[in-house]
């Protein structure tokens, strides 16, 4: 459940942030999402990956669909991909990896503070 909420929150922040900020705002969105919601490192990565990956995949796929692949098939060919859908997949993959690392970084930062807080309480 937490995983799902986190993924949705990251995707939402990323979507709105990238309307006015550069593409790497999606990495920061994933980072912020991880600061907000606690999960393990692995879950965090997967959550960031899916959030940004699916976001980019969906947006790209919509554009591909609405434009009848007119440009996508040409750009796919420039990158020696045999079908427009592969370019949509690559887009999702690149976004996903960037999002995954952003989220992981957020979680590892959060873990530093969590440990301190917890350890402080333990020895009191």
């Amino acid at each position: 459940m937490k995983f799902l909420v986190k993924t949705i929150i990251i995707a939402a922040i990323a979507y709105f942030a990238s309307q006015s900020f550069p593409w790497y705002s999606v990495v920061i969105a994933a980072f912020l999402g991880s600061l907000l919601i606690r999960t393990s490192g692995l879950v965090s990565f997967v959550s960031g990956f899916l959030a940004i990956g699916l976001l980019w995949f969906t947006l790209a796929w919509l554009i591909d669909f609405e434009s009848g692949s007119l440009l996508t098939k040409k750009v796919a060919a420039i990158f020696q991909l045999s079908a427009p859908l592969l370019l949509v997949l690559v887009t999702g993959l690149v976004g996903g990896i960037a999002g995954g690392f952003g989220a992981l970084t957020g979680t590892t930062l959060r873990q530093i503070f969590e440990q301190k807080r917890r350890s402080g309480g333990y020895y009191k």
Binding site: W23, W56, L71, I78, T91, A98, Q111
Partner: protein, 810 residues
Amino acid sequence: MKLFKFLLSLALTAALVFVLETKFGSVPPLGKFLNPVGGFWQNAEKTENQFIDIGIGAGVNEQVQILFDENLIPHIYANNDYDLYFAQGYVMAQFRLWQMEFQTRAAAGRLSEIIGPDAIEFDRLQRRKGMGFAAENSLREGENDGQFTSIMQAYSDGANHYINSLDYANLPIEYKLLGYEPEEWSPYKSALFLKYMADMLSASETDLENTNFVELFGKERYDFLFPEVFDSPDPIIPSSTVYDFEPIEVKEPLVKGFPWSNTDEIYEKPDPLNGSNNWAVSGSKTRSGNPILAGDPHLGLNLPSIWYSLHLNAPGVNVMGAGLPGAPGVIIGFNDNIAWSVTNAQRDAVDWYKIQFRDESRQEYFFNNTWLKTQMRIEEVKVLGGETYVDTVIYTHHGPVVYDHSFNQKEQLTGFAMRWIAHQGSKEVIAFHQLNRAKNYTEYTEALKNYGSPAQNFVFASNQGDIALWVQGKFPIKWEGQGKFLMDGTQLDHDWQGFIPMEQNAHVLNPERGFVSSANQHPHDTTYPYWSFDSNFEAWRNRRINSRLTEMNNISVSEIMALQNDNFNLKASETLPLLIEMTDGMQLNLEQSDVLDLAKNWDYFNDIESKGASVWEIWWDKIRKMANEKFRDSAKPLKTVGERRFQELIAEYPEDEIFDLPETSQKETATEIVQQALLSAIDSLQNWSAANDGKEYAWANFKNTTVQHLLPPLTPFTVSGVQVGGNRSIINATGPRHGASWRMVVELGSKPTAFGVYPGGQSGNPGSKFYDNMIEIWAKGEYLSLKALPIAEMQQENILFTQIIDPRNE
């Protein structure tokens, strides 16, 4: 440990972002590029009309309305000329910005900045030819002319208004792929663009190749193979024309000695196929009684197209036709009263002078018995991913020294300076500004007075019933033979002595034959009082046009359209019967004689489905190639024998040594060459079929007309296999990579009826359906209707969207 994990993860993330934000070789920054919100995806246009009526900010004096019709042709309505050209600059940048910038970068020799070290030699050449020098001179020529500066500034302001509104998401895709950003536009860039056109059209001379030829084979042989005038030249200005003016006298040098020394390397010249057709028929020959004008400039076929169609309306002007992205005004078009079109006027506009430097400092050169100072221009070629290349170009009073010790010239104290008419400033922009507004023949000739280079044959027709044609440009007065070969740069009398006054340029008004025409052939017959020369004259399109127009009467617009798309191959009809005769006695197998039969039964039309046309074209190419091989293989670059002369040689001099193959011991004649070439041609045709899944070599498939993106490696942006007939020397001059880049037909009634089309589309964006939508229409020989209507008469249902520019003070 936790801290380490965080730092590691942070470092990995930062590295990843960095990698995705960086361009590697030809791979664009992937994060930036693939981002669906801002990357290349934003260049994909929806198939459903996505345009909305929008305001585009302020910047003009009074409100401007731009209505885009169903072909995305803008109809610009302004209240004054500044606003009109502002809007034109805005609109052209909006749809063609990348091309505008790329072409001016190419002109200026600045491609290395975006492409890298591969372009250094190209950039050096552009600078050595003095492209920037020429553009500066044009601006200087116009700097005291308020109208000139205002037009150039308005266009530039408009283009910049668009450029400044851009962010990464709406940059043209080529910027995203190559990873660079547009610069500001400027009047200098428009001037550069016009020099880019001048280079394309007036610089394909062969003076140095001619010199090499004479050096290797002698003057007599040169004169035999390269006659100045063809038999039956059928010149542009009809032979009946009387030249009753007093020509300016030209002083012949005492000694016409040319320096027969040369360079081993000559840079590649613009495509000599750059040519065109145009004609105008008087009302006495048309069905409606109105004059009809037709024009189709032939250029390299590229995407985005060189042309952009537009309609400009303001008080005093209502003009429509084809413009050139980068330049203000309509270049070929019509208004309410007149229509005009251009073909290239073949005239040697570049001459070469051998320079003798005093010493290795090259600060002085010898001229007219004295030492003159040179000027040095330091050219810094900035290189993507490399060190700046610094080149010093030496200038003499002739012009820039293109070839010297650092560029294709081995002798330390020798250089070859280039004298090019386009180095001089002239105000073509004013010529087009006035032509756009001209109401009659007198105003047309007034407008042409401002036109210097590249020289063009301006065909004209008006609704007052006049038809005319001026061979217009700034032409140096030359003594016979001047500038045909490398000249002696130390002699005063080898310099250009002056220019032909415009009123003495060859022209014709309302000739008795009822039509005027031009197709890059000889401008005039030998009764014209000045000597003129070019290395390349057309010999077939002109004769076909003139013979058709002579026999046609009661002509309709659709018959003129059909003539523009005429595929009759006059050259083949004159030559093929002879070639076939020469195959008598050949031992051919069944398959081979089937191929020969295709040629025998051919009707001489290079139509889409014709196989006979394929046989003829490849056969003829092979014959010429075999005979010219020895010139092509020469250590010094030479010119090959032109097709017209070659045709004559086969018919009249079949035993000439040009047909002798140097690699064999016996002496070949034309017959052996023709026979060998046939076998080789048949092989090529069969190989082509084998390589194309056994497809038959129908002419359009075999020719494979390709409209290529300006960056050839981006092949998916190129359209190939266009189903279209024609070839060079045919009125429909569409070859594999070259052809009618714009076709226009206008009937001059009380209101003009006009049609136009070009092989491309109004949008430069490969992600738009308007990128290449006209190619098919063009290939079929069909046209769009061009309507220059007042804004009140524009039909709403034909308007895709409207843009409004508001005054700057609101």
